[in-house]
């Protein structure tokens, strides 16, 4: 793991966050009080931590606002190596900090692909030297993401790869997928899979259905996702490998996940905040910022995703941060690049579910921090004594408008361009050090 250097930058006076509403999704704690940060960890928390109560400590009055574990984003494309014009670890980490995200998992679909221990090492060193937040590389599960030969899962894990994925493609060969799951199991490694049957997607560019037909765009059926998911679940059953569907996007997939979980299989899933808050209609007149993979689906599918988060059947919410420059997006829809920048809007967009009454704050924060931490074996994602002081001070009510030019990300392709959101990170702490202040 790469942490911002905690040794000399945080050797400050302890800091007390006082007069806060502390929400810990890991334990269900929701209480007023204070939280003491020292040496990069949460040294203490409770009612007794008030302004001036801790000798020698600085204090920050939270004004009754929420302190929660920093968000952990399991799907971030950070650009390095090879796509530095779109994003770098430095800019992605600034965007993360501004969004209350204290840990990001970066995707291996870079150039070259992160399928070698030297590249894992490169990411960790670059992150140590340039990133404001914790960065964990995910490594390719097959060489060069070709879906043919297994990558060096054991060595990559020893080098620091936190999970394994095939980027934005599915492994089509069931035998390879089986072997990867079986092999990864020996190392306790988590497989994070993209769900897309390429032969069904073909040249599809958006959700298959009436809207695509009206727009004259080729559609991608939800079956392209569920077929791969159902196959994978059979292979999980066969091998016992730990499996996480990186993003699901439709009701049918949610049903498959629920069935797998009810059978006790080691299966979890994620959803992007885009698929919780947007649908295919948002594409409107060919707006390419709404082009992504999986595609934005029908409203009923979006409703299903929201229900899945509310019920806890969907474990993780990701930004699916995929920065794209004008060269990728300023094109006819069918030719435009997939992907949306999302790190800075993750929290604000997710809070729409809270303000609409669709999901509890607890559930949302769980899917944004505690659950990813559990899946990945991280010590963060909770507010406990001794836990890393990766924290976010959230104003749940503050209104703000997404202005692309003010985003920290190098690329401004946000589908929330001009959107009015309610609630955001005010201060973000990584290992006890404030890395972001709003305003």
């Amino acid at each position: 793991m790469s942490a911002p250097d905690t040794d000399h930058r945080t050797a400050h006076r302890p800091l007390a966050l006082v007069n806060a509403r502390m929400i810990d999704p890991a334990t269900g704690l929701d209480a007023f009080g204070g939280l003491l940060i020292a040496d990069g960890v949460i040294a203490d928390l409770g009612m007794h931590i008030t302004e001036g109560a801790i000798e020698g400590a600085e204090s920050l009055d939270c004004g009754g606002r929420t302190v929660a574990p920093g968000l952990i984003d399991m799907m971030v494309f950070a650009g390095e190596p090879g796509h530095e014009h779109r994003e770098t670890l430095a800019t992605a980490s600034r965007a993360a900090a501004a969004g209350g995200v204290t840990t990001i998992l970066c995707m291996p679909n870079t150039d070259p692909v992160i399928d070698d221990v030297a590249l894992v090492d490169f990411i960790l060193r670059r992150a140590r030297d340039t990133a404001l937040v914790h960065v964990h590389p995910m490594a390719a599960m097959t060489r060069d993401l070709r879906g043919e030969e297994m990558a060096e899962i054991g060595l990559l894990q020893e080098a620091g790869a936190i999970a394994f994925t095939n980027g934005k493609t599915s492994v089509a060969d069931a035998r390879v997928m089986r072997n990867v799951l079986a092999y990864a199991k020996d190392y306790g490694a988590l497989i994070v899979h993209h769900l897309e049957d390429a032969s069904l997607t073909q040249d599809g560019v958006m959700n298959e259905g009436e809207v695509a037909t009206r727009l004259g765009l080729r559609g991608i059926p939800t079956a392209a996702e569920t077929i791969v998911l159902e196959r994978d679940i059979r292979l999980v059953e066969l091998t016992g490998g730990r499996y996480h569907a990186g993003q699901i996007s439709c009701r049918a997939s949610l049903d498959v996940i629920r069935a797998a979980k009810s059978r006790g299989l080691p299966v979890t899933c994620g959803v992007s905040v885009n698929h919780l808050t947007l649908n295919e209609n948002d594409i409107g007149s060919y707006r390419t910022f709404f082009k992504m993979k999986p595609p934005l689906r029908a409203e009923d599918d979006r409703r299903a995703m929201v229900e899945g988060v509310a019920s806890g059947d969907i474990d993780v919410i990701v930004s699916a941060h995929d920065p794209r420059g004008a060269e990728g997006k300023r094109r006819p829809f069918a030719e435009a690049a997939d992907g949306a920048a999302g790190l800075e809007t993750l929290l604000g967009a997710a809070l729409r579910l809270y303000h609409n009454g669709d999901a509890t704050l607890h559930r949302l924060l769980e899917a944004l921090s505690a659950n990813p931490a559990n899946l990945l074996g991280l010590g963060s994602g909770r507010l406990g004594k001794g836990a890393p002081a990766d924290l976010v001070l959230i104003d749940l009510e503050i209104p703000w408008t997404v202005e692309p030019e003010r985003l920290c990300s190098k690329s401004k392709n946000t589908p929330f361009d001009g959107a009015r959101l309610e609630g955001r990170a005010l201060v973000t702490f990584v290992a006890g050090r404030p890395v972001y202040h709003y305003g």
């Binding site: 097959t142 060489r143 043919e148 030969e149 297994m150 990558a151 060096e152 899962i153 054991g154 060595l155 035998r175 390879v176 072997n179 990867v180 079986a182 092999y183 199991k185 020996d186 091998t239």
Partner: protein, 318 residues
């Protein structure tokens, strides 16, 4: 022939040696006892006997082999047989003649003993049903390699005086290994505790039902082992995506001093050969004083002499 050896021979009642499966503890022990005598013979200046004088032994190898084929040849010659080697690469078999046709053709030449290696599991048994002579399985696909298991057991017994209760760890490509299957059967029959250690992709489904303890970590699996038996890793395993690379394989499953330290200090190091140094075994470990890999080759000749002797007892005499 010594009286003891006579007794041993008559206590092996089978016409063929197709596998370890089906052999009793006493039959295996008898073969091992007989092999001891052959090992003694092999270390004398004069190594010849006449058990197989006038007999014909055909080595029929559908798959390339160096040590197995040559040790059968040597064993046959030391017992006075006429030995003929037939190597039939897969390609020429594909030209038309079926295995059965080949067997019928060879049978017409009236051999007394047929030593067969074939790439298909069960092929040697099939062939044995079509010929009149005794058949010895020198390896059929991923199924059995009985003389290898016997020579391994003999080597262990010579160093540890017993097999009962020993912890034997078989490490590597269990899925494709006939050596592993024959050893599991033999060692279990003789009361050893057998462990297999491999990545899950090289274990084979249901392996635990074969009476072994299963490990996917070398350090755990080698703990307190009396014998460490390494298996050869074929390069094509990488191609079929069962493991990622030789360097990763060596790192986690190659026998080096670090992992070997988990076994008993006097653990025997074994390998059926040919070795991939630096893939499944560290070069220095292969040459360590605890390594009995060369002795395995010597015992290979002894065991094959014993097997030929035991089967010769049942050859018709007119």
């Amino acid at each position: 022939m010594s009286i003891a050896a006579e007794a041993s021979t008559s206590s092996f009642p089978h016409r063929h040696l197709l596998g370890i499966e089906g052999l009793s503890r006493s039959e295996i022990t008898a073969l091992l006892d007989l092999s001891e005598d052959a090992a003694t013979l092999g270390r004398q200046i004069h190594k010849k006997r006449d058990d197989l004088r006038g007999r014909t032994l055909i080595n029929l190898f559908f798959e390339a082999s160096t040590r197995t084929q040559s040790s059968f040849e040597l064993a046959g010659k030391r017992l006075g047989a006429d030995v003929m080697n037939m190597s039939i690469p897969t390609s020429s078999v594909k030209k038309g003649e079926t295995l059965i046709d080949t067997a019928v053709t060879l049978n017409a030449m009236r051999p007394d003993l047929l030593v067969v290696r074939h790439h298909s599991a069960g092929a040697v048994e099939l062939l044995s049903q079509k010929v009149d002579c005794s058949v010895i399985n020198a390896g059929d696909g991923s199924h059995e390699h009985p003389t290898q298991a016997l020579l391994d057991a003999l080597t262990i017994r010579r160093h540890k005086d017993r097999l009962q209760g020993l912890i034997v760890a078989i490490c590597g490509d269990i899925l494709h290994s006939r050596v592993a299957r024959s050893n599991i059967l033999l060692l279990n029959t003789l009361g050893a505790r057998v462990r297999v250690i491999a990545p899950s992709t090289l274990l084979g489904a249901g392996i635990e039902r074969l009476g072994v303890e299963v490990f996917t970590s070398m350090r755990e699996g080698l703990k307190d082992a009396d014998v460490v038996m390494m298996l050869r890793l074929q390069r094509e395993r990488m191609m079929s995506s069962l493991i990622p690379s030789t360097r990763e394989y060596f790192h986690f499953f190659g026998l080096d001093y670090d992992k070997l330290a988990c076994a008993k200090p006097d653990a025997l190091i074994m390998h059926p050969g040919p070795m991939n140094r630096g893939v499944e075994i560290d070069s220095n470990v292969a040459d360590d004083p605890r390594s009995v890999i060369r002795e395995q080759v010597e015992m290979g000749v002894a065991v094959r002499i014993a097997v030929l002797q035991a089967l010769a007892r049942h050859l018709p005499n007119e």
